[in-house]
């Protein structure tokens, strides 16, 4: 079969969605099909630009190429999943979140601030309600994304989990004396919450961050907080690290801190499970809650500095228990049977 993977992307930004699209392409090719990516550039501001890009997607024609039929389009992201195709399957990574659950979020909300925001929000919601059901089948990245789609758009879908890149290369090292927080440095990942929690810890917990900041401002905010709270000797910013370094950092940590706001899915959780490490996450973190079983494979804290601090102290003081929870996490990953073969089979059936 000839299969196109339709997605949208912001030029110069590479994140989980881009990695997932590439991995999906490779997995489809490995199953003996021809697969190629189509990536529509997307800019989400000012709000009316969103409407322009939605229309642009509706104007594209992926039915054939040089007279040869495209057998299937697998659409991943807004607004690319609006592209029409008679044989389209949606594997929804997420809808345009600031038109939905992040609409009035104090940090993440953006549409709400523009004069045209409400109009554009409604246009996005209407397009999703009417056009997503055009697809032959609708899968999502996670239970969390399925839940939002049902709640906001009244559309049913099936969660379809995928493994992180190079899943087989993660390994378990000795239990170390630092907590690890790997993520893009940006508001919704809540590095700032982890820093405030650290200031509340009874123990001298050490925290290492890896990942690039979306903007120099984001990094500066974090740096300032660390300085003001006098945590300089307990916090380390590693910036962008190689995949190999990242795996080593997972393997040798005490546990992983991952408290984002309503994450769609969250490879970080899965990578922690693969490395046999317990995960500290929050009750509003979304996707990670599908994998972290409280007090069995990690700790689910309230999204407050105090509660997060308590969870961090718990791991810090009871290393034995941390190791046991890490082992249980690895077992849980195995039980879930997460594989690309399974993903491809579902998307092509």
């Amino acid at each position: 079969m000839k299969i196109l993977i339709a997605t949208s992307s912001v030029p110069f930004i590479r994140g989980g969605a881009e990695i997932l699209a590439n991995n999906l392409r490779d997995a489809i090719a490995a199953a003996g099909h021809e697969a190629e990516l189509v990536s529509i550039p997307f800019k989400h501001y000012p709000p009316e630009r969103i409407a322009d890009h939605m229309l642009a997607c509706r104007l594209l024609d992926l039915t054939e190429t040089c007279g040869v039929r495209i057998d299937r389009v697998i659409a991943l992201k807004f607004p690319a999943y609006l592209i029409a195709h008679p044989n389209k399957v949606i594997w929804l990574l997420h809808q345009h979140r600031t038109a939905y659950e992040l609409w009035d979020h104090p940090r993440a909300g953006d549409l709400i601030h523009g004069p045209d925001g409400p109009v554009i929000r409604d246009a996005i919601r209407q397009a999703d309600r009417e056009l997503i059901p055009e697809a032959k089948a609708i899968f999502t990245l996670s239970e969390n994304v399925s839940g939002r789609l049902r709640r906001f758009s009244g559309i049913d879908s099936e969660p379809l989990y995928n493994p992180p890149a190079h899943a087989q290369l993660f390994y378990k090292g000795p239990t170390g004396d630092y907590l690890f927080f790997p993520s893009r440095i940006t508001g919704v990942k809540r590095q700032w919450l982890a820093i405030r929690a650290l200031a509340q810890c009874r123990e001298r917990v050490r925290l290492r961050f890896a990942g690039e900041a979306d903007s120099p401002m984001q990094q500066a905010e974090c740096d300032n907080a660390v300085r003001e709270l006098k945590l300089t000797d307990r916090v380390e910013w590693l910036g962008r690290v190689s995949e190999e370094q990242k795996r080593d950092l997972y393997a040798n940590c005490l546990g992983v801190v991952f408290p984002p706001v309503d994450e769609d899915y969250g490879y970080v959780t899965l990578e922690a499970l693969l490395s046999s490490k317990p995960v500290i996450t929050c009750s509003d973190s979304g996707g990670s809650l599908e994998f972290v079983v409280d007090r069995q494979t990690g700790l689910v804290a309230q999204p407050t500095p105090e509660s997060l601090a308590q969870a961090m102290d718990t791991l810090w003081t009871d290393r034995q228990r941390a190791a046991v929870m890490g082992e249980a996490g690895r077992a849980r990953y195995e039980d879930l049977k997460i594989s690309w073969e399974n993903v491809v089979e579902k998307l092509l059936c």
């Binding site: 196109l4 110069f12 024609d61 190429t65 040089c66």
Partner: protein, 354 residues
């Protein structure tokens, strides 16, 4: 963290899914050159389907709706538009380096290989394309073309000026030469516009028993059989060989060992083959209507420019076959001409970013 040095450059082109050709190689070559020069560069490819004709209008509009001016409030310093309709994407700091316009609306209109003119709305769509090009191309800060041929077409049909800006073929540094063996080489995608059929016809009219080696993937799947039948009918199975798609290494080897290179396409935009032949120090036989190659082949100094007839092509082939010394001399002169033209990515980037 954004890099503190270098520019953020986007290359806008089109994507015809599952088809790779010269345009993709060019876009990737440019992107690589920019990254190596310390810039951040990415390719933005908009899917394009040109039939039925109204789809062209849809996709022109889609391009006009896209916004590549900045990402997360950091400006995109330069947009380089390569192909229709992607070069219509608006941008305050856009330059166009035109690979070609939509040729079916211009030089290929009413050409036997065209299909736009066969639709009832073909004429209207053609009008819209010409209007869009004429009005929107001049919005760019600079308009360059990949060859003089492309610039001349744009001048003829849209009265717009473009500056030719040549670039090297892929792996330019890896070409070499060897003593000539007994074959002429015709490397090209197998396609009616490249006129492999004209060479087969010419072969039946040569004095000498000239041998020709073809390489390149065929656009249509049944070509291998067609080729064999044609060769057999004409009684020259032993004089022609079609290798299909070959590796870059094999291609360079074939260039190096050939006596000369055949490249007689119809109105080629640019033509890497001419440049590759020059790098391999081989004379080129091309035709008076071949377009791009005529910017590089100097008649009877670096090759032969023949009329596009079997007879004229046959005469040119015989001449190279029978006078190996001249062939060798023209080949060396071609290499010198390549050097004189300063064809390198550094020059291309300087012009596109100035």
């Amino acid at each position: 963290m954004p890099q503190s040095h270098g520019l953020r450059v986007l290359i806008a082109t089109v994507q015809v899914p599952f088809v790779r050709g010269g345009a993709e190689i060019l876009a990737e070559g440019l992107c690589r050159a920019l990254v190596e020069a310390g810039h951040r560069a990415e390719i933005v490819a908009i899917p394009f389907k040109w039939y039925p004709p109204e789809r062209i209008l849809d996709q022109m509009l889609a391009c006009r709706l896209l916004d590549l001016s900045e990402t997360f409030e950091v400006p995109v310093d330069r947009l380089i538009g390569l192909k229709f309709p992607a070069y219509l994407i608006p941008h305050p700091r856009k330059v166009i380096w035109m690979i070609h316009q939509h040729r079916q609306a211009y030089d290929l209109w009413q050409h036997p290989l065209n299909d736009l003119d066969r639709y009832p709305n073909g004429d209207d769509v053609r009008g819209a394309i010409v209007r869009a090009d004429t009005e929107l191309i001049p919005q760019a800060r600079g308009v360059f073309t990949i060859s003089r041929n492309v610039a001349l077409r744009m001048q003829r049909y849209c009265s717009l000026r473009g500056t030719p800006l040549y670039h090297p073929p892929q792996g330019a540094g890896l070409f070499y030469t060897c003593p000539a063996e007994d074959f002429l080489y015709f490397p090209s995608r197998i396609n009616p516009l490249k006129r492999q059929d004209l060479v087969l016809e010419a072969l039946s009219k040569t004095r000498s028993k000239i041998r020709v080696c073809f390489s390149g993937a065929a656009d249509e799947p049944g070509f291998a059989r067609t080729f064999a039948t044609l060769a057999q009918q004409n009684g020259f199975e032993k004089r022609v060989e079609w290798l299909g798609a070959v590796s870059e290494e094999k291609k360079r080897d074939l260039y190096a060992r050939s006596l000369g290179v055949l490249f007689p396409p119809i109105d080629e935009d640019y033509g890497y083959i001419t440049l590759e032949a020059m790098l391999a120090q081989k004379p080129v036989i091309t035709c008076t209507d071949s377009g791009g190659p005529l910017e590089f082949v100097v008649q009877r100094e670096t090759g032969i420019v023949a009329e596009p007839t079997p007879e004229a092509l046959a005469a040119a082939m015989d001449e190279l076959w029978e006078d190996r010394d001249t062939a060798k001399r023209w080949g060396s002169a071609g290499r010198q001409r390549y050097a004189d033209l300063h064809i390198d990515w550094g020059n291309v980037m300087e012009k596109l970013l100035q």
